[in-house]
């Protein structure tokens, strides 16, 4: 346990001292709010949950892996592999730090919404929203783990992650309503990983209730999360591909 704590402290310091990581993690979410606010300030009540999921998606698929990929590329992971530290502890510690970063990002977005655009939140709506955000974030991070495992280089992982992010962003009811989509796509979207998170967070934040189909949504997310974790663990590599 002491080992895990010291390692986690080190992981936290590394994230905080890396200017690039810090910028993307803490400026990007607020920037998103400014951009959406500038375009549609009257709809920010409705938009804020969408922006939270949007951010969670880019964080889970791309940013949350940045430091891990950097450590893999610079042979830091190989040096860690030479110690008796179990891989589960390394990954656990890394995930813990990143989940905390993700939750802080979501809090920043909510704060920006409340302060800049008078988005109404209550204790109940927040209490309901956070678990939903967390569930989505974990599933997205697991999917990001698959991308990092498959990609040969950090650059290609980012490219793949960004592509999936953009696709899901446009079709998952985050920024464009679902009825703008063609029929066939509208039938597929509910089974993709981002859509259920949008529904869950939106009803939690805006109405302080569970979405009528919350059980289905959570079940789907769990399936994605657990499945992806399993695959990501299989694909985990200590070294970059030769």
């Amino acid at each position: 346990m002491k080992r895990f704590l010291i390692l986690t402290k080190a992981m936290t310091l590394m994230h905080l001292r890396n200017g690039y990581v810090l910028f993307w993690n803490f400026t990007f979410p607020v920037l998103l709010m400014f951009i959406y606010g500038a375009v549609m300030s009257q709809y920010m009540d409705y938009m804020t949950p969408g922006v939270i999921v949007l951010n969670a998606l880019s964080f889970g698929l791309v940013s949350s892996s940045t430091m891990m990929l950097e450590m893999r590329e610079k042979s830091v992971l190989r040096r860690l592999q030479a110690t008796p530290l179990p891989a589960v502890q390394l990954i656990g510690s890394y995930l813990l730090v990143n989940v905390i970063i993700g939750v802080l990002q979501s809090t920043l977005i909510i704060l920006a919404g409340v302060v800049l655009y008078d988005v109404p939140v209550t204790a109940t709506s927040l209490l309901l929203s956070y678990p939903m955000i967390l569930a989505g974030m974990l599933a997205f991070m697991a999917l990001g783990g698959i991308i990092s495992g498959m990609a040969a280089k950090a650059g290609s992982a980012t490219a793949v992650g960004m592509t999936i992010y953009f696709l899901l962003m446009f079709i998952s009811d985050m920024v464009f309503p679902l009825d703008m989509l063609p029929d066939w796509l509208r039938n597929v979207v509910p089974y993709l990983p981002a859509y259920p998170v949008v529904q869950l967070v939106r009803s939690a934040m805006l109405e302080a209730t569970l979405d009528p189909k919350w059980l289905t949504h959570l079940f789907l997310l769990a399936a994605y999360g657990i499945g992806a974790t399993f695959i990501a663990a299989k694909l985990f590599r200590w070294e970059p591909k030769a």
Binding site: A10, K74, R79, A82, P84
Partner: protein, 309 residues
């Protein structure tokens, strides 16, 4: 002899289609400084990686203190202090933080005083709170050494610990290695500098193209080949003419120096003077030296240590 502390048997290791080790066996005794001497690409790092549990050999086995690396790598890793060839620490951490973390990964928890003592050995105390990536190359190499022994290991594996260092810093590392040895630790280090192997190591394995071609004390390696003395001179003469001089068994150029292996240096030198006189060349910087590991390497492999595999 007692049971070896590191025992590698018949290791074959490959990266895809490249075979890096071809049936290497090696045993290191407790408390010795053991050197792996070989040119670039010989397989030194791969051999260490097999011992460290970082590379899975295709064939053969490694035991550390009687424990099989493949079946219980956590237990064998625990006994080792490691410096990899490419220093790859978390360089957004400070010097003191790094030492603390790497010791903790072995479940060794250092106090701030202990961290200071360790850093003092490597002349890094003033750099305590400096980020690792702000250190100079030599300082980073010393930090890598400090990190390697942060867990107080009985076996220390150093992959080219002095490659990036100037001569002064290199001697400082030699002193540290000797200290570690005096404390009773077993040390295995790789190098392609023969003077380093000669200066530090009790025993040396000469490794070339994935095979160990000889393994003994430096003195025995030299004595066993019964090499003659080496006569060195600065002069430009055709090698075939030099080779036919009396008593010359071999000749080569290293840079502009002519090196001749000879059983009777005084006879050869006289003949060399005559040859130079006939060719209108002058001889400078004549010197006689004992055969060294470089000569052994050349004799055993047919190529110089500086030529990569």
């Amino acid at each position: 002899m007692s049971k070896p502390i590191i025992d590698a048997q018949n290791l074959t290791a490959a990266y895809g289609s490249i075979t890096a080790l071809k049936g290497v066996s090696l045993s290191v005794e407790k408390g010795e400084i053991f050197g792996l001497l070989g040119p670039n690409g010989a397989g030194k790092s791969t051999l260490l990686a097999c011992v460290e549990g970082l590379h899975k050999p295709n064939q053969g086995s490694v035991h550390i203190g009687g424990i099989n690396v493949q079946s219980d790598s956590t237990a064998t890793k625990r006994q080792l202090g490691i410096q990899l060839q490419r220093t790859a620490l978390m360089d957004d951490l400070t010097v003191a933080e790094l030492v603390e973390v790497y010791a903790a990964l072995y479940e060794v928890y250092l106090t701030s005083g202990q961290i200071n003592d360790l850093l003092a050995r490597f002349d890094l105390v003033e750099k305590r709170n400096v980020l690792a990536r702000r250190l100079s190359g030599g300082q980073q190499q010393r930090l890598a050494l400090a990190v390697a022994i942060a867990n107080d290991p009985q076996i220390v594996l150093l992959d080219e610990p002095t490659s990036a260092l100037d001569p002064h810093a290199r001697r400082a590392v030699w002193d540290i290695v000797r200290q570690l040895h005096d404390e009773g630790r077993t040390i295995v280090l790789t190098t392609h500098a023969m003077e380093e192997a000669e200066a530090l190591c009790g025993r040396i394995a000469i490794i070339d193209r994935g095979q160990i071609v000889a393994c003994d004390t430096p003195a025995a390696l030299i004595a066993n080949l019964q090499l003659n003395s080496m006569l060195k001179a600065t002069v430009e003469l055709p090698l075939d003419q030099v080779r036919s001089l009396p008593d010359v068994s071999n000749a080569r150029y290293t840079g502009q120096h002519l090196e001749m292996e000879t059983a009777r240096p005084e006879v050869t030198l006289t003949a060399l003077h005559e040859l130079a006189g006939r060719s209108g060349r002058s001889i400078r910087d004549v010197m006689l030296r004992q055969p060294n590991l470089e000569d052994v390497f050349l004799k055993l492999t047919g190529h110089a240590l500086a030529e990569s595999n």
